[in-house]
Structure formats: structure tokens, C-alpha cells
């Protein structure tokens, strides 16, 4: 056993540990939004650990070459880019399809943002229209 194999095994062990943590959060959390938060974050970190760990581990074996590390880095960067996008799309679909928040939730920034945008889109028309009308009348 050389140093590359040991480093790769430690990374793979950390990754599988974070996989188990993510599925545990998927079970334990009370709400679909909380579930998505914990599960996506830790599953992304766990898959980074597993995939990069396999790439480093294969360098230490007799069949491994540098192409292993290159391909695993490509897969890891792809997962790191696309996992938050799919999580964002799923959570927006959950909010728009009307799934309520957990009763212990205290803040809803997205609803505040939607209300502020709606008020902003509705209100500036009236102050703009009324001075023009008054100016036109006078």
C-alpha cells in the first residue's frame, strides 16, 4: 500500500459517511424544503469525496493511470455544477404547486420577495399616472 491508496481510501470513507448523513437528513427532517436543503448539500459533498477519492485511489493501483483522475474530476465538476440547479428547480416546483411550509418555520423570504415585486409592479403606475393627469388637467 502506498500513500495514494491511503489518501483515496480516506476520501472514499468520508464520502460514504456523508452519503449516510444525507439519507438520514432525508428521513429526519420535517418538511420538503428542509429535506432538500440537508440532503442535497451533504450528498453533493459526499459524491465529491467518493469520486475524487476513487480517482486518487486508482493512481496507486497497478491498472491505474492519469486518465482515471482526469475523468473523475470531470464527473465531479459536472455534479457540482448541476446538483444545485436541479435542487433549485425542484424546490421552486414545490413552492409553486402549493406545498405548505412546516408550522415551525418563522421566515419566508420568497413570499416576501414575490409580494414586494408585485407591489412594486402595481404601485409605480399609479403615482406616475396621477401627476401626468393632474398636469394635463391644470
Amino acid at each position: 500500500m502506498n500513500a495514494l491508496t491511503a489518501v483515496g481510501e480516506i476520501l472514499v470513507l468520508l464520502g460514504t459517511f456523508f452519503y449516510i448523513l444525507s439519507s438520514l437528513g432525508l428521513i429526519r427532517m420535517p418538511d420538503v424544503y428542509n429535506r432538500m436543503q440537508t440532503a442535497t448539500k451533504s450528498a453533493t459533498l459526499g459524491s465529491l469525496g467518493v469520486i475524487i477519492g476513487v480517482g486518487i485511489w486508482a493512481l496507486g493501483t497497478d491498472f491505474g493511470s492519469a486518465a482515471w483522475l482526469t475523468k473523475t474530476i470531470v464527473i465531479a465538476v459536472f455534479l457540482l455544477l448541476t446538483n444545485p440547479i436541479s435542487a433549485h428547480a425542484l424546490i421552486r416546483a414545490a413552492y409553486k404547486s402549493g406545498i405548505p411550509l412546516w408550522e415551525g418555520s418563522v421566515v419566508d423570504r420568497y413570499r416576501e420577495h414575490l409580494e414586494a415585486k408585485e407591489k412594486e409592479a402595481g404601485s409605480p403606475k399609479n403615482p406616475d399616472e396621477t401627476p401626468i393627469k393632474e398636469g394635463g388637467v391644470e
Binding site: 452519503y19 428521513i27 467518493v50 476513487v54
Partner: protein, 84 residues
């Protein structure tokens, strides 16, 4: 050190635990979240299988699976949202 079989068993445990949410989940989005996490776990599992069998072609399989799973989740999310 520990051996690759132990890591495969740990990944199997994680997949079984998240399958609980697929069967139990109250809403459709809950099941979709669990399936999304399971596809991420399966990508790592395929990379581990590539090391287990010593064949680099399985890494390409893992990359294609990740791309297809991402497209599928995006399509389901658009469908739930009312587009598509």
C-alpha cells in the same frame, strides 16, 4: 486499509435509507427529492464499481447517467410547476 466491499455496503445502506422516503413521502415532490438524492448516490456507486472491476469504461457510464438524471429531474420539475 478497510476494503472496497465495506464502502459498497455503506452506499447500499444509504440507498435503502433514502428509499424509505420514496415509499413513505406524503407529496410527489418528496418522492422526487428522494429520487434525486438516489441518482447522486448511484453516480458515486458506478464510479466505485469502475474501481472494483478495474475498468475505466464504467466512468463514461457514470457520466452519461449523471447527465440523463439531471435532464430527467429538470423535466419533472417543469412538469410539476405547470410548464411543459
Amino acid at each position: 486499509m478497510i476494503g472496497i466491499n465495506v464502502y459498497l455496503a455503506l452506499i447500499a445502506i444509504a440507498t435503502l435509507l433514502s428509499m424509505y422516503r420514496v415509499f413513505r413521502g406524503p407529496t410527489t415532490v418528496d418522492r422526487l427529492v428522494a429520487v434525486d438524492i438516489m441518482t447522486t448516490i448511484t453516480t458515486g456507486l458506478m464510479v466505485l464499481f469502475a474501481l472494483y472491476y478495474g475498468r475505466m469504461i464504467f466512468l463514461d457510464v457514470a457520466l452519461v447517467y449523471a447527465i440523463l438524471a439531471f435532464g430527467g429531474v429538470i423535466a419533472f420539475a417543469r412538469y410539476m410547476e405547470g410548464g411543459l
